[in-house]
Symmetry: C2
Subunit: 460 residues, 2 copies
Amino acid sequence: MPVKVFLTEDEMPRQWYNLNVDLPVRNPLLGPDRKPATPEYLGTLFPMNLIAQAISTDRWIDIPGEVLELLYRWRPTPLHRAVYLEKALETPARIYYKNEGVSPPGSHKPNTAVPQAWYSKEFGVKKIITETGAGQWGSALAFSCALVGLECKVYMVRVSYEQKPYRKMMMETWGATCVPSPSDQTKAGRDILSKDPDSPGSLGIAISEAIEEAVADKSGKTKYSLGSVLPWVLLHQTIIGLEAKKQLKKFGEKKVDVVIGCAGGGSNFAGLSFPFIYDKINGAQIDIIPVEPTCCPTMTKAPFVYDFGDTAEIAPIAPMHSLGHTFVPPPIHAGGLRYHGMAPQVCQAIVDGLIEPRAVHQKECFEAAVLFARTEGIIAAPETGHAIAATIQEAKKAKEEGKEKVILFNMSGHGLMDLKGYDLYFQGQLQDYAYPEEEIYKALELIKDLPKPQLAKAGS
Amino acid sequence: MPVKVFLTEDEMPRQWYNLNVDLPVRNPLLGPDRKPATPEYLGTLFPMNLIAQAISTDRWIDIPGEVLELLYRWRPTPLHRAVYLEKALETPARIYYKNEGVSPPGSHKPNTAVPQAWYSKEFGVKKIITETGAGQWGSALAFSCALVGLECKVYMVRVSYEQKPYRKMMMETWGATCVPSPSDQTKAGRDILSKDPDSPGSLGIAISEAIEEAVADKSGKTKYSLGSVLPWVLLHQTIIGLEAKKQLKKFGEKKVDVVIGCAGGGSNFAGLSFPFIYDKINGAQIDIIPVEPTCCPTMTKAPFVYDFGDTAEIAPIAPMHSLGHTFVPPPIHAGGLRYHGMAPQVCQAIVDGLIEPRAVHQKECFEAAVLFARTEGIIAAPETGHAIAATIQEAKKAKEEGKEKVILFNMSGHGLMDLKGYDLYFQGQLQDYAYPEEEIYKALELIKDLPKPQLAKAGS
């Protein structure tokens, strides 16, 4: 029995799937004037050929040949059958996982970093600026800019810059510049430093610095880039689910019952699940589950509102489940899941009842990830641990029900740069954090005057 | 044009290649009595089914089905064409590399760790003890014991244990016990600590502790394991070269001109090259190049002698190029290449003129590895940097000669746990070390009374 299935280059998907076309309702992004963001406004931040993807009405969007060739450096990624985990759980379920950890930067992030770099170069961009928290996105963009031949600068949240020096070294090895944020290189950074010279930084501040430097170059040769949330990011990630479908067929599976991914900004979950949401819209019975930390319960507890993408209120305003853009989640080790908002398309799918979010506590995730490491042999990122925990819950449910379910989850990245979390887990020093309800309400108070998104199609 | 070729499970090699059968001369290992080591003596250290592989007269040895299934967790590994590196070098050569960095522990080491764990379990072993320096081998064995279901204990050189805590955390995540050496758990360790409580440890001391604990269990349920040098280790690694041959054919290559691997104990080099040495013995024209650090010039400067495998003179005595078992190489970042000896089969191939060793300095290796990272996108281990440096030398030579050569090298592991070396390189803080000739002669003086190995077949 095979435990892993590859695809050849010829079998690699040639098009991305654009879920926008199939969502009943689409609320637009808003600009600083709180009106629908115009392409002109978005064009100050992003190259126009990416913006075109966000407003495209095509269900299938061609992947350019040169992008395919770049993706082929590490794709298609293998689809594994988790036979050893199944045995350990004594479940009748067949569990499959897509291994996105085999990319050189170690996660799914280059699936969009590579096309973003390529489209930027096509558009005449010479330099891309971004921010990064824990470092996964920054290293993926540094890698992609090296392959394509673009300059790359990354503002990295200072506390992560100091705690995770290896991520900075990765970016530098790929030729990028990595600056701890707040820095003295932007007005936003200098303002913070003048008030608090020892500021540990935040993703919100780093976004402000990256955007400020990008828009300051009026030649249009410098653009800003984001690693999740935006429509083209999610579009590029759909290659994960499209490959997985072909590979499940090679395993002889005719249907899948449960699809699971962890969700911080939503991109790895969207990448695996959107092609299956397409099937669901067309009549398939599939439980599709995005998984988040209990202490940062964006999807399971927060309202669907319009809110800012960043703390400093510079980024576009997005329709999403939001804990409020000033909300600071507890310091769990899954840094990639500590975001106050969620990709609008994922939120719209929740509102429309297409997917069923779930929250799990950190210790359950590490317990699941350790079982996964000791059976399947792969050390997963703490973020991915959330998907594994939900998978184990579903496999146990299948056992109770005596059902031969097919469960598919996204092994979104390896945890070789995140071993400190495992170490603390073994030492019994990890804690589960309560859902900080009061703080969330305080944070939401700040956006009560923003417009409200539409919930259902007019007249429906 | 494809830039990467996979194989399916069905195409995976079913047998390992045993070079011993084709070497004109074989000098045996010696036991503590300085006479050819008997299976009984070796059996106190290793399970007998592995020892049987060392003395087998079969050219091809079947890979058990269960081992194949375990290897299939991450194998076959991809063979890449280095199109971006070729472009950067403007070489007419076609460069290929086998990517062993995709294994969960990140290197070629599990190719033998998995079968060693499996054969040990078959033989009734319950616990495997080993030592590790930088941690690659220890984490590969921990991974393998988790998959097979064996207890695993690793004595890790204390200075590495403290400098590279992530390696220890990897081993613990896979359920192994990792102890800094010297420890108070063995007599050998206690002896050292009583003289020097702050001893940083050494591979020699760690070997002594691991062997002492393994042989102390008279039930036979505890065995010792080694990650390089020994015949069955090299045998298991030949899957690399056997896969590469099939993949080169898929790329349409009819022959290969140059085969390159870095060599510390010799296992990754042997794994790639032995199947090509077989072709060379049968008439093919191939330059086969093991690459070592200039400051630890085992193959390029040291004599072919009998010497101990470890500093403490406990391990078997092996016929090999040796810098002397008390030689301590300068502190280069390629920790896996800092060994005083070399696998006997590799040395025998040098003596027989089948392969041509080469030495390179550390800074050239990091320069080569940075170019590789920025063109091919993969951050290689510092050890692998030696193979890349020699590959670039050969690609430049092909350009000078105007020849369309086919060059194949082993990308033996990723460097995500070794980024400190890259960082020091960028800071201009790396140095090249001179070949410490005098120290080597002092170290060799200690073994002048050991027997001398046979150089050529009697009568030839």
